[in-house]
Symmetry: C2
Subunit: 196 residues, 2 copies
Amino acid sequence: MTVQQSGRRERKKAATRQKIADTALRLFLERGYDAVGIREVAAEADVAVTTLFSHFASKEALVFEQDEDFEHRLTRAVTDRSPHEPLIPALRREVLALVRHCTADGAAPVWRMIEASPALRKYDEAVRLRHADALARAIAADPGLTRSETAARTLARFVIDAYSLSREAPDPEAALDEIFPMIEAAWEAARPPRRT
Amino acid sequence: MTVQQSGRRERKKAATRQKIADTALRLFLERGYDAVGIREVAAEADVAVTTLFSHFASKEALVFEQDEDFEHRLTRAVTDRSPHEPLIPALRREVLALVRHCTADGAAPVWRMIEASPALRKYDEAVRLRHADALARAIAADPGLTRSETAARTLARFVIDAYSLSREAPDPEAALDEIFPMIEAAWEAARPPRRT
DNA sequence: AACGTAGCACTAACGGATAGCTTTTCCTAA
DNA sequence: TTAGGAAAAGCTATCCGTTAGTGCTACGTT
């Protein structure tokens, strides 16, 4: 059994991973995602191609490196909210925070790059669908809610749509102000039919 | 200027395309999508690989060949409805028809294959997003509707979600019965704020 | 000090997709 | 009828993302 690693190996591994991610992002922003090949990234980061793929599952994953906690934050907005806080406002707060995070000045060039590449957009969509599934499970598991499982899945999709649509909108926060009342109404309309 | 083609060329081209599509679908269903390579499809259809790719933009497109009018049907449900018919029921009717079409006995093995392959699922997602965009444009262009453009885009996403969610549900039609009242409520909540 | 293994490198290949160029097939106009 | 033009299909060679197989090296453990 592997017990405790006292550090040097882990640090070296993390450093390699970081160097790859940094190099990749730099090259992608400099010359465009599609114009830079994997072999080039690996060479510039001074690692073998196989090493690169042992740290990142795909070329796209190099770009989406940081947004790992995204899913966790959304589900926690459901599960960790205070006992009688209504669901929708809690979700709205979290989506707003995520949108702000994506549209912040630092992240803007990255998102422009993502929207410019079909491959990256596709990847982003797939990620969002995974998030919608996780969110649906969190909502369905909430004991205080009496909606059906279909309603839970639907709400989750709608919330992810809100995130995606507002990120693309010219005024993201205004878009959220418009979409979330629609979601609220939809959730109200899914009143307790029968138990799941 | 090319004038009128009297037919032989067009027919031969269509025949080639059809032969490729048929061969591909047959091989994919027989042995699995991932187990059959492009070179093999081309060989079995007795065409060159480059010819195959001049008819279909990608391997995935071989599978989604027939669902081209999908988008057209959805937008027509909006634009061609009778003058004062409300929007949501018209969309619901069309989505129901599409879901029935996908879950019909003939199409079932194809959809099982699609859900079994990550590449095909991803492609399907991308196709749905395109459809949502087209639907959003059709809704926004309707002169009788006074909602904002954000509301139109949101409705379009929700409708596509309804299609997608109900296709995956154990009882697709029951799922639609549950989701569309939610959509109706959301659309009602997007009351005329200001003109677009 | 010796062993086990995690991390990384190297080569070689696979499968999807494309660029460049030639050949075939069909349409049309002289 | 035939010559010219162009669309369709073919061939070759290659790029690109990704993976398998195989070692070697450096680290952590005993």
